[in-house]
């Protein structure tokens, strides 16, 4: 019978595949969670832009599987497709089977990292940023003082005019363009380690200030603390907290990320907090996943679970505690952009919208493809400027076409990116800034 032989042929093919299957270091069971239905495809920014299966979540998982089964060898093309992923996790939102894509891509990058050939300058730069600067508060401070001077005293003007950076590195040149105005680094001192609310204390909250936030967007941090205080929170901002490790995880430097995680857990766990609040979605998502990161560290796993259970994104926290709604009017037409790490990473979609809707005079506008990545994705816009630009253009078209006066979101990376794309006086805010504004009766 035809049907019969046809089927048994297939069985044979499969069992042969079985034999050559050699489980690599990527979690093979997680790979098998993907049943190849393809429902993720149209949620993936790179697939939407390129229409290439290799640049889709399903395709990348297929590549990982082929790699695990030794059906393919690492190659430039493989690196390219794995690296082009923004890790926006929109596919995780779409996946009905709950495939842990982000973990898979991180593991894959970690495995592929040693096999990549970097130039020595690039290698040096990478280790400088990941291993030396970001983990150290002092070095970061120094860097931002430098950048502040650079902006403030016209050096930037000269550099840009002469296109000096373009001679050194195209990427550095692209990165420089992204550089927003930097507040004076000393402004960070406005947030003291312990700040008490004027009225009755309802919660004791730890504030995770974010390593870059503190220098680039100190105003958002100040707004966050203000809003927390207005809601009866005692805010503790430990001085010795460190970077959450997000950049290291994305940059295939998990070991450093683990050390950073341990440091943060140690810092916050002794403070007897009701919640640990972060205002950058890229941080809160990683903080919430510390147990995953430290799953093999016996000494830390349980502590990580306790730590992470307390982590809240600012909008999530304010929504849960039923925000004090003594707002004054903020009349503005505002478009909301779903930051990937908020919407896809943490499923926080409704909360910020509900908060914003409570502000009198504020008109909240839904944009199309609201939850499609803006191209920022950590330092993606520096490493893959081409794709980042395409996605930014798409995002800005969607925003501008609504005629909104401002766009609001809950992630620093997005803010940097959106500032770059904003035209016609479009303002860019963090959700918490608008809430702060409503408390301050600060009409603009």
């Amino acid at each position: 019978m035809v049907g019969q032989t046809f089927l048994s042929d297939q069985v044979k093919v499969l069992s042969e595949n079985q034999k050559i299957m050699n489980k690599g270091e990527i979690n093979y069971d997680l790979i098998l969670g993907c049943i190849h239905c393809g429902l993720c495809l149209n949620n993936c920014p790179t697939y939407i832009e390129l229409g290439l299966e290799m640049d889709s979540p399903r395709g990348r998982i297929y590549l990982m599987r082929a790699l695990s089964e030794n059906r393919i060898n690492p190659s430039e093309s493989l690196f390219r497709h794995i690296d082009l992923c923004l890790e926006c996790r929109a596919c995780e939102t779409a996946c009905p089977s709950g495939v842990k894509y982000a973990r898979l891509i991180e593991e894959t990058r970690e495995i592929l990292e040693p096999q990549k050939k970097y130039g020595s300058f690039k290698k040096f730069l990478k280790s400088l940023v990941y291993e030396k600067i970001i983990p150290s508060q002092k070095r970061l401070l120094a860097l931002f003082w430098f950048l502040w001077f650079y902006k403030k005293f016209g050096i930037q003007w000269i550099v840009r005019k002469l296109k000096i950076l373009k001679l050194i590195s195209k990427r550095l040149y692209e990165a420089e363009i992204l550089l927003p105005d930097i507040p004076r680094p000393s402004k960070r001192k406005l947030i003291r380690e312990l700040m008490k609310p004027t009225r009755k204390r309802r919660y004791r909250v730890g504030f995770f200030k974010g390593c870059i936030m503190e220098f680039m967007f100190i105003d958002i941090n100040i707004a966050t603390v203000n809003v927390l205080l207005k809601n009866g929170c005692e805010v503790i901002t430990p001085e010795n907290q460190v970077c959450c490790g997000a950049l290291h995880i994305h940059g295939a430097k998990t070991n450093i990320a683990k050390e950073l995680a341990k440091k943060n857990i140690e810092t916050f766990e002794k403070l007897n907090l009701d919640a640990i609040v972060a205002n950058t979605a890229g941080c809160s998502v990683v903080l919430k996943e510390y147990p995953e990161l430290l799953k093999d560290e016996i000494d830390y796993y349980v502590r990580a679970e306790i730590f992470s259970s307390k982590v809240k994104d600012i909008s999530e926290f304010l929504y849960e505690i039923q925000i004090n709604d003594k707002f004054s009017e903020v009349s503005m037409r505002v478009a909301y952009h779903d930051s990937c790490h908020l919407a896809h990473g943490q499923g926080i979609i409704k909360e910020p919208r509900e908060l914003l809707k409570m502000i009198p005079g504020l008109e909240l506008i839904e944009i199309s493809e609201s939850d499609l990545c803006c191209g920022s994705a950590g330092i993606y816009n520096i490493i893959h400027p081409e794709m980042a630009k395409r996605l930014l253009k798409r995002k800005m078209d969607n925003i501008h076409s609504t005629g909104a006066e401002a766009v609001v979101c809950g992630n620093t990376g997005c803010i940097i990116q959106l500032l770059k794309g904003a035209q016609n006086n479009l303002k860019v805010f963090h959700t918490v800034e608008l809430i702060d504004m409503a408390y301050k009766n600060n009409k603009i």
């Binding site: 035809v2 049907g3 046809f6 089927l7 048994s8 297939q10 069985v11 093919v13 499969l14 069992s15 079985q18 098998l32 969670g33 993907c34 049943i35 190849h36 239905c37 393809g38 429902l39 993720c40 495809l41 149209n42 229409g51 290439l52 299966e53 290799m54 395709g59 297929y62 590549l63 082929a66 059906r71 393919i72 060898n73 190659s75 093309s77 493989l78 497709h81 779409a94 996946c95 009905p96 089977s97 709950g98 495939v99």
Partner: protein, 458 residues
């Protein structure tokens, strides 16, 4: 064989960056939603328009190299596998909605347009593209046309074939032909109708004229909960025979409810053996009476409860859950195997009992989520591909179910198509003469057997 010279030629047609020949990249094109068989193409090209498709096809035609069109690759019967190698012509770049004409209720689209995007684009004007395969958020209209895709709402609105007015096709020799048009009545053979469901074996569709329909004034969506599958299937059968044709009527069984609950936390009633989702739409006036009739039939068939979606949000969530059902199988199994055999609706109770027996016979879990209103079954036979014995049992189980459907007066595919997977079963429903008849159709269009060879009847 594809050599460098031919690749150069293809590159000169579509541009260098739109031809893939790297082995590590080609591997992702070796299968679609049907993963049991894998055939790696020798190259993938991404044309931008009809002319590029035509030029590429001409090159391949002259060199006698097989080619296969592909969209999003969500097909469930291996319709876009490069069985004999050759070139995959991927149409994802051809994703423009060219024209929307509300007066005539038509639109002209390229094949790479995502099904759902069409409805999203026209919904604010009060229109909708009716065919809604569960993959509609990703699958392309070209793929839908090739497979004559269905979906839950085909019960009232019909399959893709009932919504296509015309197609532009690049024939296997590279010539471009337009069949049909915005006007439904055209002189001559209805070649448009023949093209729909031909699974890319008669040519490559490069433009499609679709019908769009007015959104109904209202919807009413019911969720009826049953203690036994028999009651659920009898209910569906009875609703149809009572003269009500709902817009959609879907059954979800307990295995699938479990998977969906894990994925969406929809809060389906606990311990139910099956739920039936019934939707009616149209003019609000009079809908209450239809709703009442439906509720009465459910209750008469021992429904534990009949719930109604309170608002659009609840309705949308219910459909989201239903449409993601197959995707959610990954929650409970590593692999599954689904077919879409269709039986006369009155045979549903009998078939579901049979499927249950098959599950026991082969000791396999089988989940059922299906278009009960159409008699279109979707038994998902689950297995673990690392267990060779299980794989074989799953194949057999699936095969036996299909065979039983045929014996009950049904057919082996209602909406997924035959593709590569089911071609070996075609002789169950067609005689040698019938199959020769189909082969002759193929011969008219593609005498050299270059266009998606090895599918349906080959």
């Amino acid at each position: 064989m594809l050599n460098n010279k031919i690749i150069k030629k293809l590159e000169s047609v579509v541009g260098r960056e739109y031809v893939i020949t790297d082995d590590n990249e080609l591997i992702v094109y070796e299968c679609d939603g049907f993963t049991k068989e894998k055939h790696k193409p020798e190259a993938v090209v991404f044309p931008a328009d009809t002319e590029e498709v035509s030029e590429a096809v001409k090159i391949l035609y002259n060199e006698k190299i097989p080619f296969t069109a592909r969209g999003a690759g969500t097909g469930l019967s291996g319709g876009c596998l490069a069985v004999y190698g050759g070139v995959i012509i991927c149409l994802t770049r051809m994703n423009k909605i060219i024209d929307i004409d509300f007066w005539n209720r038509t639109a002209v689209v390229e094949p790479g347009v995502i099904n759902l995007l069409i409805s999203e684009k026209i919904s604010k004007n009060g229109y909708l593209f009716a065919p809604d395969p569960s993959s509609q958020q990703v699958s392309t209209i070209g793929g839908n046309v090739a497979a004559n895709a269905g979906g839950p709402h085909t019960l009232k609105y019909g399959s893709t074939i009932n919504h296509i007015l015309g197609v532009e096709v690049v024939l296997p020799d590279g010539t471009i032909e337009q069949f049909g048009g915005k006007i439904e009545d055209t002189n001559g053979f209805d070649i448009t109708g023949l093209m729909i469901g031909s699974e890319g074996t008669l040519g490559i569709i490069t433009k499609i004229i679709i019908k769009i329909i007015h959104l109904p004034e209202g919807y009413e969506t019911f969720l009826a909960v049953f203690e036994t599958m028999d009651d659920a299937t009898s209910t569906c059968s009875e609703i149809i025979s009572s003269g009500i044709i709902p817009t959609a009527m879907e059954i979800i069984d307990d295995v699938m409810i479990n998977a969906l609950e894990k994925a969406f936390k929809f809060e389906f009633p606990k311990n139910a053996k099956a739920v039936v989702v019934i939707e009616i739409d149209g003019i609000k006036k009079g809908m209450a009476r239809i709703g009442e009739k439906i509720t009465n039939i459910c209750t008469a068939n021992n429904a534990r409860e009949v719930k109604t979606a309170k608002n659009d949000e609840e309705r949308d969530l219910l459909w989201l859950v239903r449409k993601n059902a197959f995707g959610a199988i990954g929650r409970i199994a590593t692999n599954y195997f689904t077919n879409d055999a269709t039986v006369p609706r009155t045979k549903l109770p009998e078939m579901l009992k049979f499927i249950n027996e098959i599950g026991i016979k082969y000791s396999l879990t089988i989940a059922n989520t299906f278009h009960a209103g159409d008699g279109n079954l979707h038994p998902a036979v689950m297995y673990d591909e690392t267990d060779t014995d299980q794989v074989e049992r799953a194949f057999r189980a699936s095969e036996e179910i299909m065979k039983k459907c045929v014996e009950s007066g049904g057919t082996i595919s209602g909406e997924h198509g035959i593709g590569f997977y089911k071609k070996g079963f075609m002789h169950w429903i067609f005689s040698e003469e019938d199959l020769k008849f189909m082969k002759n159709i193929k011969k008219i269009f593609d005498p050299d057997r270059l266009c998606n060879p090895g599918k349906i009847i080959e």
